[in-house]
Amino acid sequence: MKNNNAAVIRRLTFRTVRADKKRDVFVVAAIALTTVLLATAFSIGMSMMETMELQRVRMAGSVADAYLSDPSEEQIARLRQLDYIDQVGVGVRVGGVNGRDRQTVGNISLTLVYVDAVQWEEINAPAFSDIVGTYPAGEDEIMLSRWTLEHIGIDRPEIGMTVPLRCAIGSDGLAEGQERAFTLSGYFTNYYYASSGGADFALVSQALADKSGCTAASSGTANIRFRDGVGRPLERLEEDITLLPGQELTAMSEGGTAGRRGSGLLPVLFAAGIFALCGFLLVYNTMLISLARDTRYYGQLKTIGMTPRQIRRVVVGAVMVLCAIGAPLGLAVAAVVSRAIVPAVAAANGAFTGAVVSRSPVIYLGAAGFAGATAFLAAFYPARKVARMSPVEGLRYEETVGRLPRWAAGGGAGKCARMAARSVFRGGKRCVLVLTSLGLSIVTLILAATVVTSIDTDRYAESLLGCDIRLENAATEEHVGVDIFSDALLDTVRSLPGLADMRTVTAAHCMLAQGDEQSGLTSKVITIYGVDGQTIAALGGQYGQSVDIPAFERGEFAVVGAIEPEQWSRIGTLEWEFVSGVTELGRVFRLPVGAAFPSELGQQITGQRTTLQIFVSSDYLRSIADALQIYRIDLDLEPGRDEAAFLLLRELVRGDNNISLQSRYELRQSIKRSVAVLSVLGGGVSLVLGVIGLLNYINVMAVGVLARRRELAVLECVGMVRSQVRKMLLLEGVGYWAMSLVLGNLLGNGAMAALYAKLLAPLEYTAFHYPILPCAAFYAVSLGVCAAVPLAVYSSMSRATVSDRLRQAE
């Protein structure tokens, strides 16, 4: 018959917990700290993934996975039948509001779009927030974003209010339209404008769409959401729906969600591993010390018939009881910490569409699971050691020194340093644990501090902006012809204090005159930019192609930015006609293509990655065009003058939504905020790991000195004066400190060199700075703790006479 001893084991487990309150506090604190770190790491990781996904979705204005342009009725019906497609929404471009009409829409480009119910409810609405009102039903009803409403001049929108817009209904959306009074049926917050270069859309009713004559097949899109788990099978879809000529089937963003999650999880798991290891060390260390003291007690239990398995159950059970207290404590603290940290981390990572503090149960279950496993393992090995000890051995247990390291043996025993060294190494596993724990905190500190100190804010600003201050036409490329820089503004710019250099990019619209059918651009309006030779030389340098700059400045050839630059290199000569208002109509200009760069490089000038960008010298463009607009002004200022100039210009262009103002000063400030968040995060993690390391040390050292009560009394008894005892203990503490410093620096500097070479050095905005100050501060604090703990413990114990201490120890 099987014994039922669960009750007695449970009773012994709880009695064991109650028996040593100090140990309990240490173990609970260790588990709580581990859980806080794990849950915070998981929370930040999950929240950042969800935040970035939210930002992607909000900037896209849609949760669609792909879209099909100009879909026919048959294609839409087919899409709805496919088993791997979850939802299909249809949107139709009904008309547009011309950006040149400043009176109505503040120079933004606004497209009137009708979307069906699926598109609105399942695909658009999840990407918007704060939706008020309903989707337009009547012909004159309209739904607008708050961003557009603000540009129109409506700060406090109300349902039912009249919104007058000058717009063109029908297929010719860019043509001058007529004033039309819409009724606001709803409004919402979206961030589509941020990814569209300042364009937005207005939602209109099916009635208006029907009246306009526009259809999905003529000017619409089918927006597709695939079922979960199928990925984005565009090739399969292409075969299933058979694309028509000119139709595009495009994925909304590159890479799958799963891939992004995978790459985001790696650093989180790495951090979690480090945290779990530190927590393990602290719990393991505490249990090892506690069990060493309780060995006689477990020896007694074995003597009266307890099996090794039962002893293991008692020890591990006691730790799991403490885990049941520590883990929820840690989870509660982590929930609060996450709520405070995640928005800051999200903002530091450039998430401007709002932060998501993830409430995924994975975070809390994962952290609790990790912490529980850590506590279990940390208890299991010391428990096994005690359980395997023979009862007699346990009863007679007295801590002894088995063998000294060879280097420590011999020499003058009276030398305090040698005795201190022997005492450090007598602990064996405990010594290794303390060194590992303190060493890990130093490694973390070096890594975190190196990342923070190596971010060079000046370089960061320089890598993102090619000049100190940039004023740019913020309207879309289609509206580049709008003359937004007034003479007064230009005069102010020219007279800015400390202005060292001023470069302008001019622009004019044209249409290609050559019959290049492949490019498909002959019927579209293209922008031709007038730039200086220095800018083109910089692009050539980046692309590794030398350009004859004097010849370019003389207007002997044009430079092209294109998605397929090779194709444009082969064309040889560009032919174009300017649109109305630039020169007289019908006049054709020709210029050889002197160089062709990828459109990503051209984007540095135009701000957009368009199919074709044409660059000619400013002087040349001025010589052939009667009317030119300034597209961009780049300013360089003398050192230390950019902040004042930026603040002055910001005041001047405030309220003018068509002028975008960027400055290195602002970029520096923004990266400084990010660096501050990184510092707090890295510093926080280093601090907690440092505290764990020091707690491990305090635990080992305090218990070690207390356990040596008799030994220290004997030393005094045979003539060691207290100053010699103190010196020996001080050297022990300093020895732990020095060894962990060497270990931590060896590992930390090695890891830091690898981290820097692989991850930081390739970044343009990093410059290596060894984190001397944070490291020095930590070393000083840890030296203080390492030195103070043994002295404090000895001081408290040595108040009693040698005789009393000898008696107490016996």
Binding site: E399, T400, A413, K415, V714, V718, G719, R722, Q724, V802
Partner: protein, 224 residues
């Protein structure tokens, strides 16, 4: 002139109004080279007396003079230094330093004093106590009897004025006890070492030159 002289020693614990009297007016003197055994039952105050005689504890009243120096007038630091130069201790539980090997344990008091080690004397003590082959062993590698022999050697190495032994055979079996007592007696004779030993065992007391009986903190028999 006695090497050890104690007069009116009192040691009280607890409340002033109703103290526990561990020692209550003990006076005794020990001549140089004498082997004195103090016998008493458990709780009689013999260990307290030995600790006070050795300067490990301070009496509530009375004075102790060792080799002409009054212990009560010394600071803790002076007392410790005096102890390592003039008093040797042997404890029931050996009290060797676990991180030091046998030889290092033996010479520890000399090294703490910074003095050069008198090697012929140390080797003589080691040989006399039969520790020649154990010099490099750690205490954990020794038997109880061997550890006690190391403790005796350590107590003698500074050629102290007195050697105080607190139940040195308390943890040993009878045969080993006889060996250890024989060695103590032998060293006392051979090195003309003054020894004061406490025990509860009347038989052991037979080895002594003089026996003092203590009970309830007072000398009750023998020539104090």
């Amino acid at each position: 002139m006695p090497i050890l002289f104690a007069r009116g020693l009192k040691k009280y614990y607890g409340r002033e109004s109703d103290p526990v009297r561990a020692l209550d007016g003990v006076s005794l003197s020990v001549e140089e080279g004498e082997f004195v055994v103090i016998v008493g039952q458990s709780g009689s105050g013999k260990s307290t007396l030995l600790h006070i005689l050795g300067g490990l504890d301070r009496p509530t009243g009375g004075t102790v003079t060792v080799d002409g120096r009054v212990l009560g007038k010394m600071t803790d630091e002076q007392l410790t230094v005096f102890r390592r130069r003039n008093i040797g201790f042997v404890f029931q539980s050996y009290n060797l330093v676990p991180i030091l090997d046998v030889y290092e344990n033996i010479v520890l008091p000399v090294e703490l004093d910074g003095d050069p080690i008198d090697r012929p004397f140390v080797e003589g003590v080691i040989d006399a106590l039969g520790l020649r082959g154990l010099k490099k062993r750690l205490p954990s590698m020794l038997s109880g009897g061997q550890q006690q022999r190391v403790a005796i050697a350590r107590a003698m190495v500074t050629k102290p004025a007195i050697l105080l032994a607190d139940e040195p055979t308390g943890n040993l079996d009878s045969r080993t006890s006889q060996d250890v007592l024989g060695l103590l007696k032998m060293t006392s004779t051979r090195f003309h070492q003054t020894v004061v030993m406490i025990t509860h065992n009347e038989q052991i007391a037979q080895l002594a030159d003089r026996v003092i009986h203590i009970e309830d903190g007072r000398i009750v028999g023998g020539e104090a």
